[in-house]
């Protein structure tokens, strides 16, 4: 079973929210839509859910086109950012809601509700109203409610962004574990790259209504297809090959001699004592030292009009540098990649 999105287009007035977006999602896969606000990720999720009508394109599940079906008939579970638990119903009745709408027999509903409460570990809170539950508990109930009718696909719209940092981190792992246990195809919208990296099998990076790149977190981080992806996921030093920048050797095949913007991740920058020489070795002054516990960030200023480079060091290496110290930074050729041709 797979979910196929074909050439979905949607406008809000003059704004193009989705520009002919196509995507295929395998059964049991956990996919994150990642991007800045306004990139169309939520709109795409809502089109898939049937809450928003696309002007053109198709949403197919296992070859069957769903685009004409209202949200009621799609059997997709949705968890909203604001939980949206019905305030007039207890946790148990919220979970039962989807089953009641489908007019399932009473005893089966009761059994399923108990199952779902056990699944999210809230058996003791069955008879509480949403207002009596914490944010994390409400989101667990919302998840149980979405899963109760046994949906074909689970859609999560920024489900963690309203929660405290600590709860958010716990719930990330919990949702991921639950998804793997149930093997349910899941799509989550988020603007938090860390969330996407920890939870998703594949990440879909979106920008201005288009898909920028699709891949695993490792792929996106290691081989970003565009400058946007490179800058959006992780941090990146940009090295335009002009001005004061010395010519650097790099592993990427050159694009017929065109000037390129190179990029390097902060943790790939190597540091050597002043005076060290070699390929891609550039002397610099330590302009700033930021101690962050497990690592130290250094801002290195090479002078001669080059922009400062951010470096990250771990372990004992980190201790050796002080503000104003002279060092040599090495930008290893195999770590440099072209992020944009000019």
């Amino acid at each position: 079973m797979s979910l196929r999105i074909r050439e979905v287009t949607k406008h809000f007035g003059a704004l193009t929210a989705l520009d002919s977006v196509s995507l295929e999602i395998a059964r049991g896969e956990f996919v994150c839509f990642l991007g800045p606000s306004g990139c169309g990720k939520t709109t795409l999720l809502r089109v898939i859910a049937g809450l928003e009508q696309a002007e053109a394109g198709h949403v197919e599940l296992d070859g069957r086109d769903l685009i004409e079906l209202p949200a009621q008939a799609r059997n997709f579970g949705v968890v909203f950012q604001s939980y949206s638990l019905f305030p007039n119903m207890t946790a148990a009745r919220n979970i039962a809601y989807g089953l009641e709408c489908r007019r399932q027999p009473r005893d089966r509903i009761r059994k399923r509700v108990d199952e779902m409460l056990a699944l999210v570990g809230l058996q003791d809170h069955a008879h509480k109203l949403p207002s009596q539950l914490s944010g994390g508990q409400q989101q667990r109930i919302a998840l149980a409610r979405a899963l109760a009718p046994d949906p074909q696909v689970l859609l999560l719209d920024e489900p963690l962004s309203a929660l405290d940092a600590k709860v958010r981190v716990d719930l990330r792992l919990e949702i991921r574990a639950l998804q793997q246990r149930l093997g349910i195809t899941t799509i989550m919208v988020t603007h938090d790259q860390e969330e996407a990296l920890t939870m998703a099998d594949r990440i879909v990076v979106m920008r201005a209504g288009r898909i920028e790149q699709v891949g695993s977190g490792r792929e996106l981080y290691g081989r970003p297809a565009t400058r946007f992806v490179a800058e959006f996921i992780g941090r990146l030093n940009l090295l335009p090959q002009d001005g004061g920048m010395p010519a650097l050797q790099h592993a990427t095949e050159t694009g017929a001699g065109r000037p390129a913007v190179l990029g390097i991740r902060p943790e790939a920058v190597r540091l050597h004592p002043a005076g060290t020489e070699g390929a891609n070795h550039i002397p610099a002054t330590v302009a700033q030292v930021v101690f962050l516990g497990s690592m130290t960030q250094l801002v290195l200023d090479p002078g001669n009009g080059m922009r400062p480079i951010l470096a990250e060091t771990h372990g004992p290496e980190a201790g050796g540098f002080e503000h104003g110290a002279q060092v040599v930074m090495e930008l290893p050729a195999d770590q440099l990649r072209v992020v944009e041709w000019q």
Partner: protein, 559 residues
């Protein structure tokens, strides 16, 4: 399943499953609004232009040009501006005392000022006549010869009549304030009067304006009080009654109705415009006001509120008293004989009032809930039109709407004629006369039911009807109880929308008070007034008790 070929048509159109409920809902709401609001207004407009020679301006010319009309118009504006001014100033003081001081007995004062809402709308004039009339308590006791009838009688009655309405608005406006502003002002060295002038007054200016417009509309359209206490001092509202009932001159009545519609409509539109602005003044970072004791201030306001409450109460108390004496003012011994209601129709008008009010409560809740649901949740190209029709009655004086019903429906060829002359048409007149207020209460509540509940329900397989029945209605149910009570209370006490619609069989209690008063049957009129008040209070207590049993708190019943 057929797959629409969107490549060739370009834009995908909304599907039938999206359109059908919108269409049905819109028709269900629009139909009755057109029949019971728009049609009567069109009927009255047409009639005002109809002459024996077809359409023309003769009716207007024959009314507007006369010296008598100009005098009545001036009278109306004079009475309205003076009573509005006095009532709003007093209500502001009263509301300030309740919201911004630590005077003792706030809860009691808050209740006392609302007492006129439980009584027929002409109880003020009735009470003032009993107190200051030729045979009034004062003249009798002290041998004086006060003459309350006329201008000052009307002004006094009107002030007492509209005080609670102004109080409700101003009390809301003064309820919220930002402590930080007051602290800053105090730190900067501002005195109490300066703080009042530069912070309190500006922050309540929208409430103040709304109170002025509401009072203006209430006074200029009220006819019960001037009928009873106005004597020869005629105002627009009594003139419509005189023309239609006294001289059976519908044309002149409709012309004056159209004239009355203008200031009432202008005031209502302004009020709606301003009420939208009130909310933006307080941000979510505001700190609630902390009141500090100030004996001089607190006791001054306690004195003011006591004086106002006594004035309100004395009027009501004297009516209750008069209902229990043998023959006012000659035999002041205790008697229950007026509660035998040995008048024409006996006690029947009271029962009629109760039936009508119960019907209005049930129909009113259904009608305004449906309207607010369709307008808030089923957006369509006609939503704005529906909204306009829903709040249009706020701009229409009750007598004008009632007269419109007569002109539109008292006609055997009209389908509504089937219920003409029944209690139902009177209940419907009340429902649509108070439609705007009921609708605004319901729609405010409906707006607070987030659209994300609808979406959550849809993704769980809930249909629109299931969502409405299982989620939306239960969430707003407490407000709907308040709406039902609102329709019941208003229908029990109102005169203006029903005065032209009653028949001897469908007479209502408030009209009985007016007619008995007119005939000089003071004691029976008082007894009817007391029965109306008792019914309203009993229902309020019963509903409050029911809500308590259900565990529903914070439900506002008096509006």
């Amino acid at each position: 399943m057929a797959i629409a070929d969107t490549a060739s048509t370009g834009i995908r159109q909304p599907r039938i499953w999206q359109r059908a409920p919108v269409l049905i809902g819109t028709l269900l709401v629009a139909g009755p609004l057109v029949v019971f609001v728009l049609w009567p207004l069109v009927a009255i407009l047409m009639r005002s232009f109809s002459t024996p020679e077809g359409f023309g301006l003769e009716n207007y010319a024959s009314v507007l040009g006369t010296a008598r009309f100009m005098r009545i118009l001036t009278n109306s504006l004079d009475v309205t501006l003076v009573s509005t001014g006095i009532a709003v100033v007093l209500a502001y003081g009263f509301a300030y005392g309740v919201q911004r001081t630590l005077m003792p007995g706030k809860a009691v004062f808050r209740l006392l000022v609302l007492v006129p809402l439980f009584a027929p709308s002409l109880v003020q004039a009735q009470g003032l006549v009993l107190l200051f009339g030729r045979n009034g308590l004062i003249n009798r006791t002290f041998g004086t010869s006060f003459d309350i009838y006329g201008y000052w009688g009307i002004v006094l009655a009107m002030v007492l009549y509209v005080l609670p309405y102004a109080f409700l608005i101003l009390s809301t406006a003064l309820a919220v304030a930002d402590q930080r502003l007051y602290e800053s002002a105090r730190i900067l060295g501002a005195g109490p009067w300066r703080i009042f002038r530069t912070i309190t007054l500006p922050s309540s200016r929208y409430g103040l304006a709304a109170a002025i417009f509401v009072c203006f509309t209430l006074v200029i359209t009220d006819f019960g009080n001037p009928m009873v206490i106005g004597a020869n001092y005629n105002v627009l509202a009594t003139e419509i009654y005189n023309q239609v009932i006294g001289q059976a001159n519908f044309e002149r009545g409709t012309v004056i109705g159209m004239v009355l519609l203008v200031p009432a409509a202008v005031a209502a539109i302004w009020e709606k415009y301003l009420s939208r602005k009130q909310f933006a003044l307080i941000s979510d970072q505001s700190k609630p006001l902390e009141l500090r004791p100030n004996p001089l201030r607190d006791w001054s306001f306690a004195a003011l509120c006591t004086a106002i409450s006594l004035a309100i109460l004395s009027v009501v108390a004297v009516v209750i008293y008069a209902s229990f004496v043998h023959l006012w003012p000659y035999r002041m011994t205790f008697s229950l004989r007026h509660y035998n209601f040995d008048v024409q129709n006996g006690i029947q008008p009271l029962w009629n009032s109760i039936y009508i009010s119960l019907m209005a409560a049930v129909i009113g809740v259904i009608v305004v809930t449906a309207a607010s649901y369709v307008i808030e949740k089923l957006r369509s190209p006609v939503t704005r039109g529906l909204y306009f029709l829903s709040i249009l009655p706020a701009a229409v004086p009750g007598m004008v709407l009632g007269l419109g019903y007569v002109l539109a429906f008292n006609n055997p060829s009209n389908p509504v004629y089937a219920i003409y002359g029944t209690l139902l048409i009177i209940a419907l007149a009340n429902v649509y006369y108070y439609h705007a207020q009921g609708f605004l209460i319901a729609s405010t509540s409906m707006k607070q039911v987030s659209g994300s509940f609808d979406e959550a329900s849809a993704t769980l397989g809930g249909t629109r009807l299931q969502t409405l029945w299982k989620v939306t209605l239960p969430v707003i149910a407490p407000t709907l109880v308040g709406v039902a009570v609102f329709f019941f209370m208003r229908s029990m006490v109102t005169l203006s929308a029903v005065i032209f619609l009653i028949t001897p069989q469908t007479q209502v209690a408030a009209v009985s008070v007016l007619l008995l008063e007119d005939r000089g049957a003071t004691n029976q009129a008082a007894a009817f007034s007391v029965c109306i008040m008792a019914t309203v209070v009993a229902v309020l207590l019963a509903v409050r008790g029911m809500l308590w049993l259900l565990g529903w708190k914070h439900v506002r019943l008096i509006r």
